[in-house]
């Protein structure tokens, strides 16, 4: 289960639509925290727990570990 694909490229908050019997979890792609219900989907489709993590990904993580790191 994940975010509806048609919405995935539009940045914004999405609700995870868990089925009652599905008990697995997903994690924020920046900090690693569990995302229990609301997920922030970034412009490139990455899923974060908050907008702050989206920002951290771009200002902290990419410059250090991304393909164009210095």
């Amino acid at each position: 289960m994940s975010v509806d694909e048609k919405d995935a490229i539009v940045p914004g908050w999405r609700k995870l639509n868990w089925l009652w019997w599905d008990t697995h979890v997903i994690n924020c792609q920046m900090c690693g925290q569990m995302i229990p219900r609301d997920v922030w989907v970034a412009q490139d489709g990455l899923e974060f727990c908050t907008e702050e993590c989206d920002g951290l990904y771009r200002t902290y993580w990419l410059p250090r570990y991304g393909p164009n790191r210095k």
């Binding site: 008990t23 690693g32 569990m34 902290y60 250090r64």
Partner: protein
């Protein structure tokens, strides 16, 4: 005025904060008095917390600091997952899912919504280490597990109580899967009792201030804590600090998992970034996100003012990056039961190792870093009932800039007293034949590492099943700034009728000496536990000569180690120890010269 957003005065902030903390402490007292298992009543392995209606932590009592980071997340995520509209008065929700913010499978969180004037004001919660949860080995520590399914009964968020009534299906599942259901029944009721006490007390506070008034004060309390914390961090030098270390499995050859940490201090905020740490392993040392966050919080809190209120505000300046699927953030189906007891103190030491570069005067050397978990169970010969016990031991703590490390204390993240000998022998068929400090176990340094312990226990029953998870058996706990490491841990067994202690690998063919499960012992077998010592701080030959002499007199340090490690040459006469000043000066000059050549 306190400069808080709503202008709550300092007196009111203090009064309300202490009332909230008092609620948490009363929860703990209830747990301690009502529990069936020593891990609650003696070891206090639980934490009690009050939250607002969004799951934001208002106050806590850290009986076990290992859980502080976890419970900050676990309740918020639980409420978000199930939805507060699904709750009604008298409901209690339980879960122990390590992937949902828990610290490891034995820790069960229970939460109850607190209503005021027909609305949810907030939640009271308790996270506690249950002594038996089924799974591969008695005692809830499946030491050789490679996946979560071997670690015991895993509960996703489910209702334990509905409207104050038992949800009997869940209780029957729990009682069927735990080896000692009578204890689980009693301990779960102790947890429920603590929630009921907290519910009443929080409602009393609400009667005084009203929901809106209390919310306003709590918002100011959190802003106050955050501002204070940021000021403390701002006082540390900005910069990036890197540190790495590993844990080892005492196999032949030893297996290692590496943890890599970059700490960024920048203008009142801290980022603890574990990117680059090893992938999660097929073992129990993996950490959940909650464990890793707790380790970071505990380390940072050690370096700042003790008086900062411990609510959500104090944690806001700290960001923890723990990539999923690694040893610092296990994902399904990875095992993780010892991540909280063994890896947590190592992570804590790694954070301090990084921060020691920024604030060397406040950091400490590594602690013994192992809860030295020894688990056992069986049918008691006196009662014919199944018993289990989770035994933990004290270790040496690391030396500090201004003091030696503490001796025989459980790892700092655990803060759990161990079970007194009298309780131990009354309840379980083991007799203690020795329990003492280990000479020369503290890492040599200007400030010596704390001493660890040695305990020998003899089996007094025909059949007992034991398991263990230790750390620090391969690598010494690290010293800081030129000091030596603490002693490594040892776990050995002497079979009845023999005269030699052997490792469990030599005696039983276990793959590892530090992690094994389900070894059966019998009458007369003896187990010896030697825990790891703390690392030292600063150059050993700079330790005050008189302190070394006192250490020898107290039997903390041997005459030989005084000379070889500290450069203090001693002479003994009729039990009196005196220092040979000339030989000491020469020996210390040699050590200094040798250190200079190494550099």
């Amino acid at each position: 005025m306190t400069g808080t957003p709503n202008g709550t005065d300092q007196v009111t902030l203090n009064v309300v904060y202490n009332r909230l903390v008092g609620i948490c402490k009363e929860m703990g007292s209830t747990m301690m008095r009502a529990a069936y298992s020593p891990i609650f009543s003696e070891s206090l392995d639980f934490s009690c917390v009050v939250f607002d209606r969004d799951g934001v932590m208002l106050a806590q009592s850290e009986f076990s600091p290992a859980q502080v980071g976890a419970i900050r997340f676990v309740v918020k995520w639980l409420i978000a997952e199930i939805g507060d509209d699904m709750l009604k008065p008298g409901d209690v929700v339980i879960h122990n899912d390590p992937y949902r913010g828990g610290v490891h499978m034995p820790e069960h969180v229970v939460i109850k919504a607190v209503y005021f004037e027909d609305e949810i004001f907030g939640y009271v919660a308790n996270i506690a280490h249950m002594s038996e949860i089924g799974g591969l080995a008695p005692g809830g520590f499946a030491a050789t597990a490679t996946e979560v399914y071997q670690e015991g009964l895993r509960l996703p968020p489910v209702w334990l109580m509905r409207g104050g009534e038992y949800v009997q299906d869940i209780w029957r599942v729990i009682m069927t899967n735990h080896r000692a259901p009578r204890y689980s029944w009693g301990d779960l009721h102790a947890m429920l009792a603590s929630l009921n006490v907290a519910e009443r007390r929080l409602q009393e506070v609400l009667e005084t201030y009203g929901a809106e008034g209390l919310s306003t004060i709590c918002a100011d309390l959190m802003a106050h804590a955050e501002r204070w914390m940021r000021a403390e961090i701002r006082a540390m030098p900005d910069g990036e600090y890197y540190f790495e270390d590993s844990i080892s499995n005492a196999t032949d050859p030893p297996q290692e998992d590496w943890f890599r940490l970059r700490v960024v201090i920048d203008g009142g905020g801290v980022i603890a970034d574990f990117t680059g740490s090893d992938p999660q392993g097929l073992h129990v040392m993996n950490c959940t996100y909650g464990v890793t966050a707790s380790a970071v919080y505990n380390a940072v809190l050690q370096l700042v003012d003790n008086d900062i209120p411990h609510n959500d505000g104090v944690y806001r300046p700290i960001t923890v990056i723990a990539p999923p699927g690694t040893v610092v953030n296990v994902i399904e189906p990875g095992a993780s039961v010892a991540g909280n007891t063994e890896t947590h103190p190592r992570l804590w030491a790694i954070v301090l190792g990084a921060l020691a570069q920024a604030v060397p005067e406040r950091a400490a050397a590594a602690t013994g870093g192992s809860s030295s978990n020894f688990l056992f169970g069986g049918t008691h010969p006196d009662t014919d009932q199944y018993y289990v016990h989770y035994h933990l031991e004290g270790v040496g703590w690391g030396g500090r800039a201004d003091a030696d490390g503490n001796s025989n204390q459980v790892v700092p993240n655990g803060n759990c007293p161990n079970t007194p000998v009298e309780i131990f022998e009354t309840r379980y068929p083991f007799v203690q034949t020795a329990y003492r400090l280990r000479r020369d176990s503290g890492g040599p340094g200007k400030h010596r590492g704390g001493l660890s312990t040695e305990r020998i226990m003899e089996v007094r029953t025909d059949d007992i099943t034991v398991s263990a998870v230790f750390n620090g058996m391969v690598k010494k706990p690290r010293g800081l700034f030129g000091a030596g490491g603490g002693a490594t841990s040892e776990l050995t067994v002497k079979r009845a009728g023999t005269d030699q202690f052997l490792t469990f690998r030599d005696a039983f063919g276990t793959r590892s000496n530090s992690r094994f499960a389900n070894i059966r012992l019998t009458h007369g077998d003896q187990v010896m536990i030697r825990t790891p010592g703390g690392g030292g701080y600063g150059l050993p030959w700079e330790r005050d000569v008189e302190l070394v002499r006192q250490d020898v007199e107290e039997d903390f340090v041997s005459v030989a180690a005084a000379a070889s490690d500290y450069g203090v040459v001693m002479m003994e006469s009729d039990g009196e120890f005196t220092v040979d000043n000339r030989a000491t000066a020469a020996r210390r000059a040699e050590m200094l010269a040798a250190a200079g050549e190494e550099e």
